[in-house]
Amino acid sequence: MIQFEGVGLSYGDGPPVLKNLSFRIAPGSFHFLTGPSGSGKTSLLRLLLLSRRPSAGRIVMFGDDTTGLSGDRLLAIRRRIGIVFQEFRLLDHLTTFENVALPLRVQGLPDSAYRENVTELLEWVGLGQRMEALPDVLSGGEKQRAAIARAVISKSELLLADEPTGNVDPELSERLMHLFAELNKMGTTVVVATHETSLLKKFAVPRMVLKDGEVRFHD
């Protein structure tokens, strides 16, 4: 379970980006996170990934208070979260296959343990022919699919995605949403930040709407 209690965030001395957020995200739920550009969607995802500390309040992840958490305990929580960054952030010198396998590799698994899984997933997202390509020869959509594959490969409990359909055609973006829905059905909690209205219309999913630093829930 994820719980925000009076959480605020500001960058440096700047104005608060998020103000006094209090909400719960139930395990196994699926939410769209929407709001205008600059409303703080990426910022909220950073808090959920624990890559930023809130300026106020406390965040409980999977039942653990994360205030002041560091080292191995922080690492253990991170490993339960998969993330798709808005700018993908694939490692330039690694192939698609190596990038996608990275979350398993950093947990100390050998190549043989994940080769099949990674290959299968890459074929599923349509990158079967691009496994040995480096990111700089991939198209925007291909990079995005590689980034998504990397986020879901370790079957995390919480999947965060920042505008995951921004660079792909509508057909693929629908397939990706179906992938998220499938993962959600298998128990993964999913939060997808998007401002794509076509998606919002197509998928009847509860929404968290950010505006003026506050969040409102719509079922």
């Binding site: 990934l49 890559s51 490993r79 952030r89 490692l91 192939t95 190596e98 950093v106 040995e132």
Partner: protein, 312 residues
């Protein structure tokens, strides 16, 4: 108008276990070159110290096993009879073994490296030299020997003591300076490695961040970087060490083949023909892992500090 479209260069296909830290980057190539040069300098320093020390020990030992009696020609004296007296007096002193006069040929041989061969010395009135072997150094009273010899007209005893003391001082100075130079080189290596490592880490910040986000521990990240730096240190060290060995090999070849024999004999007298010997090679072989290990250790600490700084 036609336009030729060139396909982008195809990157090489690699296996799924490519290093997480990129193999080639400007910073790591610079670091490798730096380690190579530093190792080379360290090895040449150590090798030279070993050479000089070995030669000095050699001279000192040769010289210490004997003393020389010099008998100058004097008006009204028959030098041959003085030589015989000196020999028998010297041999009567406890601790002395055999004493013998150096022949004209031997004297010429001794002087050849300095004066050249084929010089006719018969007309020069050279002092006669008596070489006195010391059989039991502990039993010998040098003062007694000196006083005994002084009774022979024109004879004086040369124990080489002053010369040996000078030699010891000189060798000591060379060894200490050599070690000082070595220490400075190693210190400079450490500083350069710290800077190179910090540079590499800073330019790899994105890799570090992504690794953190996908659940890599600091330990994992550090070990990935250390692998790179260890490879760099060991490779650079090995190249530098081999280069130094080849340097000494080339120097000894030059001394023994290219140089004319007289000057080679002089250099040989000074540097023992540039033969490093087993201990010299061993010293170089120790330097290589020391520099390689120092590089790895330094960058390990630097990586740890960098990771601690960014995650606090």
């Amino acid at each position: 108008m036609t336009e030729t479209v060139q396909a982008p260069p195809q990157k090489e296909r690699r296996q799924g276990t490519a290093p997480i830290v990129p193999v080639t980057s400007v910073a790591s190539r610079t670091l490798m070159l730096l380690v190579t040069i530093m190792t080379f300098l360290s090895c040449v320093t150590v090798g030279s110290v070993v050479l000089i020390q070995k030669s000095a020990i050699g001279w000192s030992a040769d010289v210490g096993r004997e003393v020389t009696i010099e008998i100058r020609p004097m008006a009204g004296e028959v030098i041959e009879s003085n030589v015989r007296t000196a020999i028998s007096l010297a041999e009567s002193v406890p601790g002395i073994g055999r004493a013998r006069v150096l022949s004209q040929d031997e004297v010429e041989g001794l002087l050849a490296p300095w004066l050249g061969r084929g010089l006719d010395l018969t007309n020069l009135k050279l002092p006669q030299l008596v070489v006195v072997e010391i059989a039991e150094p502990q039993a010998l009273d040098v003062g007694l020997l000196s006083r005994t010899i002084a009774t022979v007209p024109g004879a004086s005893l040369e124990t080489h003591a002053a010369w040996r003391q000078q030699l010891n001082v000189m060798t000591g100075t060379v060894v200490v300076s050599g070690l000082l130079v070595l220490a400075l080189i190693l210190l400079a290596t450490i500083l350069a490695v710290v800077f190179a490592t910090r540079g590499t880490m800073a330019s790899s910040r994105e890799i570090v961040d992504v690794l953190h986000f996908i659940g890599a521990s600091n330990q994992f990240i550090a070990s990935e970087f250390q692998k790179r730096f260890l490879t760099i240190g060991v490779t650079g060290g090995a190249i530098g060490g081999v280069a130094a060995l080849m340097f000494f090999l080339a120097a000894s070849l030059v001394v023994s083949t290219v140089l004319p024999s007289e000057s080679s004999a002089q250099l040989g007298a000074l540097f023992g023909r540039f033969a490093l010997g087993l201990d010299g090679i061993a010293a170089i072989l120790i330097i290589v892992p020391v520099v390689g290990g120092l590089t790895a250790l330094t960058s390990r600490l630097t990586v740890r500090r960098f990771l601690e700084q960014i995650s606090s």
